[in-house]
Amino acid sequence: MQCRDVEIVVEQEGLAPLPEAARAHVATCSHCRELVADLATIVSMANELPAEVEPPARVWISLQAQLELEGIIKDPVVPAHGERAPWWHRFSDLFRSRALATAAVGLMIVVAGIMELRQGPDEVPMPPTAVVRPNGQISFAQTAKVLNEQEIDLRNMQLAGTSTSQVDDSFRLNLQQVDDFIADCERRVIEAPQDELAREYLSNAYQQKAELLSAMMDREGSLH
């Protein structure tokens, strides 16, 4: 098993328990050991986040749909009582509130960043389109998809409501600004994948969008 195989296993199945072959590789590879340790720290820190109120069903349903669509969830059936829950169900606990959903998006950005940093300088130089991953996704694609889903949910909520206050206008205007900025940064990152500054701004823009959507959904939820 190679480093890339371990990354795929971690992406698809989570951290524990790693298959035997992956464990054997990790035991001999400091690079992968650090990756697993970093991810374990992130998950551990996320689990320590305080539990808050239950989120609206649509948040988890939307995420679940997305995870299923991407093949990360292969079996949506909830395990029988006493069975060990799959790792993604434990991960879903992170989304117990909109605030935590925002934090989780942040974590996804961090994980994406770590994955990117793991592409060491000794590896084959990336061509201009190398930001496009083997599965055709650009970096942060997972984050972008989750946020886009949330944005669609939000638009549905707004269609149901009639709120047109100064605050709502401000939110909408600023969401448009962040979307435009994300589009700018994405174009740049596709043109110049090694532009660290552009990547940093793209990452920050996603974080801001997550926070903004969270605030907008909270407000919509309190109004309707």
Binding site: A57, I61, E68, V167, S170, Q177, D195, A198, L212, A215
Partner: protein, 304 residues
């Protein structure tokens, strides 16, 4: 899956619609108790005696300003004014924590009816957590950590110190003679930091402008980033800092070339081939200043 989402959303909406009259009536009755004196166009004043450094939490969902000033008394004074009876105030004290919340009692009220201003006088050493949507947040001469959040309202701070966290969507920050640490994040709001004594500054805005006009404290760390806006730093001839300025698509306008020397610490800095950058040292390079903009202008100049 899509059908399930629609059904659940509809169920949630129905439940919320069904509960609204009940909740509205309950909120009206409850809010009437603590804020009985605050009718339309009237004022409500409350005094809370505190022992040590109090924590004051304000959540103003109405339109209006929150003004906080300090005095020598061990007492928090809250003066609330409202434009209509469609807003209710909840105030409570738990030890040295004072919570004030302005609630909208009638969601169909017009914006002008939802105006609620809060004027607080607090001990000099007070921690603040203030949250508002559209009104100005003004804090003067308060020492203590503070978290200030606003959607569209501006945040003005004068002579405050502590760990200051400001979050806005489009509201701008003006921080005059502030000390301690400042952490500002906004989407379209700008930040002006004037005559500061701040040891740690982190300013980030997607499209707002940033102005830092003042001295850099030795050993201080200063990070200022704007996605599309202008980042301008005006320093004095006595300052001592290492400078790193970078932009991807914007420009660096160096109007202080005479004061910037090559880095004196032996570290060779160079902009990557994807960015335009400026690296240098003013004085001995004791503070660290990092400026960046994705597509805006970075301007560095010396004050007269």
């Amino acid at each position: 899956m899509g059908m399930r989402m629609v059904n659940l959303s509809a169920l949630g909406s129905d439940l919320k619609r069904g509960m609204l009259p009940v909740l509205g009536a309950a909120a009206f009755l409850c809010s009437g108790l603590p804020a009985a004196g605050a009718a339309a166009g009237q004022h409500l004043e409350k005094h809370f005696t505190v022992k040590t450094r109090p924590v004051v939490v304000i959540h103003n969902v109405a339109n209006g300003r929150i003004e906080v000033k300090s005095w020598k008394n061990s007492e928090v004074d809250v003066l609330a004014s409202q434009a209509s009876d469609k807003i209710g105030f909840d105030m409570e004290q738990a030890g040295d924590r004072i919570d004030v919340t302005a609630n909208i009692l009638n969601p169909s009220a017009q914006p002008r009816e939802l105006e609620a201003n809060l004027q607080l006088t607090v001990p000099e050493e007070t921690e603040l957590q203030l949250k508002t949507e559209t009104g100005l947040i003004y804090v003067e001469q308060v020492m203590g950590d503070m978290t200030l959040e606003s959607v569209a309202g501006e945040v003005h701070l004068k002579e405050v110190s502590g760990y200051i966290i400001v979050r806005t969507t489009e509201g701008s920050l003006v921080c005059t003679q502030c000390a301690g640490k400042l952490d500002f994040k906004s989407i379209s709001g700008g930040a002006q930091v004037l005559q500061p004594a701040l040891t740690n500054v982190s300013l980030f805005t997607t499209s707002g402008n940033i102005l830092f006009d003042g001295d850099f404290v030795r050993t201080g760390l200063y990070t200022m980033k704007s996605g599309k806006g202008l980042v301008e730093v005006r320093f004095s001839g006595n300052d001592s800092f290492d400078l790193k300025a970078q932009t991807t698509m914007g420009t660096v306008d160096n109007q202080a070339a005479a004061y910037l020397k090559p880095d004196s610490h032996g570290m060779m800095h160079r902009a990557s081939k994807f960015t335009k950058g400026l690296f240098g040292t003013v004085g001995q390079g004791l503070a660290k200043v990092e400026l960046s903009s994705y597509s805006g202008t970075i301007r560095i100049l010396k004050r007269d």
